[in-house]
Symmetry: C2
Subunit: 413 residues, 2 copies
């Protein structure tokens, strides 16, 4: 069995989260993904988090399993080289992902002159082509206003770059859809999407645009409560915190039963005249429900609470710090076949994830390291561009390309 | 031009966010997506937000452009019907998405006896098959611990179901990759992924697992600051708030220039002996930097601030509530070709988004309404299962299927 996208070749000119994640996801499914960067590294070469050495853990995380080439793109010869790599022949090649939005030599119109069936996927900031990032799209659409403790006066941003992560996965879907079309019709595509449109569409998908337009009451902050039904965090006797879910009827019944709250919940229903089998009622009465459940959690340690919740078939989890999760949760360790323990030069040794999906008729690609910047420059010039050793040496000598294996006279940061 | 996935047929048995979103994304790219539900509606039929009528805006948002069939799956004949729909012939059919995880009649082993090249994508809670939801995966992995105001003692959950949204898009990619393989090799696939694995892998991709293992200092909460470089929210004279970004060198230079802070930033560099061109230094000195910038924002209204930031080429945005965003932002209106103003029966009239990506050689599908539950029952029994009118009438008469167009004698909620 080979990996599901084995044989496909993608070229990526990118920085930061979304497009690097897209390329990496394709690489983890078996595609040959070539990321090109300027000499010295792209805009995200030093992005945090960093290892004790100061080298970027983020870059290593986002570029796993890719091949890397470093090219001086200010030089005409560097531009030509990138053009040849992007538009190199091959039935399963001619695919380019980017968020760099370089007009002229690197746009779809120009590149497709060199390969008519080129598929290019461009992620922009907004639909007008203006720069936007996860940290600006999020407040513009109101998510920080509904995030945070109930009653807290200020907006609270996501720590997770959720829009970037969603957009990156949509870049993957777009590429695969466009390649499916090309396989059938022979046509290339210029595919465009923007981070802000991804977020705006998602707001609509979640029903939030209709909610904002049709309902007078604006949705407020609700702390760690599950919106629109029941779900809440509780402190246990040992100060540890758990999250419990009462979204479906089954989950709700399990929660009422395990906490021994049947009579109290019945009294609440009688007193309010409301049916707590309705999720909207549980949402409206969430504070009263939480007061009923609270003593059960406060009376015992989290380990006991967890065991009882498991026995009752409840849906729940611990609250952990990232350090605790990495130290304690087997799902974040090599006990999980998704992870490999790898040593990455300059960084250290830690569990590195492969792709989360498994295909029964295709092999899972073991998690791979990220390349050192420019590590595959020489081999890409050979096997993709088709250059001979003399041509390749000349490019290194003139500083048009760079790799960690070749000493060069000038270093451009 | 037709839509990029025109002709593809997907069957979806699902509830809540991730898998419904996956099916809808494929429908918005032109696929014929059939969602089946039990009679009376699935677990998410009443999910919040809801319209003033009490009907679910969420369900309408997540099921746009699909066909809907309602079947009594407790009856053997209902199970057989669903099996026939999932495994119906057609080169571009035989694809099934689910998060219901029904063992026996609806698992891959059983279904693939009816169609050997079936592609089935199953999203689970965790890799062990246990139920987990966005609201439990998130605290288990530590995101709420790093979210929220600096110094705030408690975990702060995401208001956005980010993991569900990411996982849903990975379901789309997985399906398209599996179908590509089937087109070439004729083989079906049993594809599995879990919400928790998606989250665990993402933590690794972002460098957070390495950070937690290699660095002694745990990443803390940092409010609305951009992690690892510079980006911060500021209050303007009129009490409105803006977010500004100083992640790249160009963004940082624009920010220093527009706020007239060159001398103050130079003094800070001299005083600390640090180079603020390094993003990690800007992160370490972010509070001092913010104090330098603050008076410029506080001295003028947000409209003026915004105009000056635009002129300076800065990357920035307003903070808005969702209601303000929907009322004020043209990107959330029909000024954006992604949106259509649609009337949805029982809900109301509001802008409804289509897919955020555009394909130059394929048509964009205009945003479509969600079906009423069971609206396509009759036509699906005809055009997919190939039943004649007599057979179809019998199924309605016996209550095995239901549609809003047929009166039925028994109603099972």
């Amino acid at each position: 069995m080979s990996q599901i996208l084995k044989g496909m070749r993608i070229v990526e000119g990118s920085a930061f989260v979304a497009v690097p994640l897209a390329g990496m996801t394709l690489a983890q499914m078996g595609a040959d993904v070539i990321r090109f960067d300027r000499i010295g590294g792209g805009l995200d070469a030093k992005r945090w988090p960093v290892a004790p050495s100061g080298q970027s853990l983020f870059w290593a995380g986002m570029n796993k399993g890719k091949r890397s080439i470093a090219v001086d793109m200010r030089a005409p010869e560097g531009k030509e080289l990138i053009t040849r790599i992007i538009t190199a022949p091959g039935e399963d090649a001619g695919m380019f992902l980017t968020n760099l939005r370089v007009r002229g030599w690197m746009d779809h119109e120009t590149l497709s002159k060199h390969r008519a069936d080129l598929i290019m996927v461009t992620l922009m900031g907004d639909r007008h082509g203006r720069p936007q990032v996860d940290y600006t799209v999020n407040p513009a659409l109101g998510i920080p206003d509904i995030t945070g403790p109930e009653g807290y006066a200020e907006p609270v941003a996501n720590a997770l770059p959720a829009w970037d992560l969603i957009a990156g996965n949509m870049v993957v879907s777009s590429l695969l859809a466009a390649e499916r079309h090309r396989l059938r019709k022979g046509e290339g595509q210029d595919v465009e999407l923007s981070l802000k449109d991804v977020a705006a569409a998602t707001l609509g998908h979640l029903g939030m645009i209709g909610d904002a337009m049709l309902n007078d009451d604006a949705r407020g902050k609700s702390g760690n409560a599950l919106y629109g039904a029941y779900g809440q965090d509780f402190l246990c006797a040992d100060g540890k915190r758990v999250m419990v879910i009462g979204l479906t009827g089954r989950q709700w019944a399990a929660l009422v039963k395990v906490t021994g709250s049947g009579d109290a919940i019945d009294s609440l229903a009688a007193q309010t005249g409301l049916d707590l089998k309705e999720e909207g009622v549980r949402w409206a009465l969430r504070h009263q429900i939480t007061e009923i459940f609270k003593p059960w959690f406060a009376a015992q340690n989290a380990a006991i609470v967890g065991r009882k919740l498991d026995e009752a078939g409840a849906t729940w989890s611990h609250f952990r710090t990232v350090k605790e999760a990495v130290a304690e949760d087997a799902d974040l360790s090599t006990d999980n076949p998704m992870f490999e323990m790898l040593h990455q030069p300059g960084l250290g040794t830690f569990p590195v994830p492969g792709a989360p999906m498994t295909f029964s008729a295709s092999a899972r690609k073991p998690a791979a390291k990220a390349p050192v910047l420019g590590a595959h420059t020489e081999e890409i010039l050979g096997d993709v561009v088709g250059m001979d050793d003399t041509e390749i040496s000349r490019l290194f000598d003139t500083g048009i390309v760079q790799s960690p294996n070749f000493a060069v006279s000038r270093h451009v940061a």
